[in-house]
Symmetry: C2
Subunit: 227 residues, 2 copies
DNA sequence: ATACCCTTATTTGTTGACAATATTCAAAAA
DNA sequence: TTTTTGAATATTGTCAACAAATAAGGGTAT
């Protein structure tokens, strides 16, 4: 595997960077939490040098915010900021769907079809376990994006934007999530790609994400009422 | 000014980061050039610690590429990669223009109108000095983006994507650049924004960038013929 | 009780040194 | 002449210690 080769060549700073990314996304490092460099360095068994390089990297991914001479904190994404991200996501992923429709190999389309059928079974089997359904949602979107053929776009979405969305997901139990409806929309998008109808695939993808964004905005307004 | 306050509080790593960014964009650090950490550190009068933090930051901006244990180089953007970036830019800036049409203050529209009239005079006065016309082009686009109201989008375009474009501009003397035509398109976009017609502003902006992208693709093909 | 100052302790930013790895270059072998 | 080998050289990654700044704590005055 390429990954094992890479990981052996990786530096400590790279490894810590990946570990911290994981801990932030999975909530082990909570939003708003202060980063204590000496403590973190001890916890990860490295010195502050590589740790600080890792922190600079995560700062670039907008996962931590740093204030000179006072320290870093894990970012706390407001719902308004998430809405902004969804707005960007809508434009970018719509484009990804259009491009993918023009170049995704037939066998990849079949593979994603199989994925969607798995999701259908998951929804029927364990209606309560939302976590895996979230992950399934991400799986679908990642595979569309990766088949866009635009590496800059792939990196932007999978390497930056999606980290923020995944991070937010954890502490928004209230977020509206209708797996059955999402799956139906995924199926329609895949059908458009299968028919090589890029224009339609883009429209469907934009609607799909736009719906999610509007739910977010709606909950934002409800939230404001309750204050 | 806010900047002076920030700059006094900035760390060395932040200052070097900004200086390196500048040097890369202005060609003092050429594309493909190897980064020699001890030499660079001496040149900027800092130790390797802050320098390496700055390099991690620039790596996140895709301005340098690092290979573990062998070092970093200033990125060399292929024309194909630039085309990918323009493709993303088309979607993002189209969106920015649409959003800006809905919320740009009237006085800001008038200010940009004044800017365009300056550009017209610049084109008439010194037909040869392309540099300033490039910068004028950037000025226009920056101001539309900054009025989109979406901070994530602003940071993505002005803080990441545009650095790469500005960097490429230097070593592409052959790049097609028709200032008079670009200015006419700028004027149409601003008119659409003035009329609060976001949909039309988006279409015009997309066409504007799409034209530039197609020129790039065309030159890419010509280049391939000459190999 | 609250606000303020001063001392103490912690944390950040930075440095120079060291070990491990990669690169260079010259001599030897094919 | 080209390739290969191996020592010497340079560079990267890492660490521990130091200086400067910030945060914390305790006592005093209001």
């Amino acid at each position: 595997m390429a990954e094992s080769i890479i990981s052996t060549n990786q530096t400590n700073a790279d490894r810590i960077s990946a570990a911290l990314l994981d801990d932030i996304i999975n909530g082990k490092l909570a939003p708003g939490q202060k980063i204590n460099e000496p403590a973190l360095a001890r916890a990860y068994r490295v010195s502050r040098g590589p740790l600080r390089e890792a922190l600079r990297h995560l700062e670039g991914l907008h996962l931590i915010r740093r204030t000179p001479r006072t320290g870093s904190r894990v970012v706390t994404l407001s719902r308004a900021e998430l809405v902004e991200i969804y707005q960007v996501r809508e434009a970018m992923e719509g484009m990804a769907a259009r491009l993918a429709a023009g170049r995704m190999p037939d066998e990849e389309i079949r593979a994603i079809q199989t994925l969607l059928e798995q999701h259908q079974r998951q929804i029927e089997d364990n209606a309560g376990r939302e976590y895996f359904q979230y992950e399934g949602d991400f799986d679908f979107h990642y595979r569309i994006i990766k088949n866009s053929g635009n590496d800059y776009l792939v990196n932007l979405l999978c390497g930056e934007l999606y980290h923020l969305i995944r991070m937010y997901r954890l502490r928004s139990a209230r977020i509206a999530w209708r797996p059955q409806r999402a799956l139906a929309e995924h199926q329609m998008i895949l059908n458009a790609i299968r028919d090589r109808d890029g224009e339609y695939a883009e429209i469907l993808m934009r609607r799909h994400i736009s719906t999610a964004r509007k739910n977010l905005e709606q909950e934002y307004l409800n939230e404001a009422d309750n204050l």
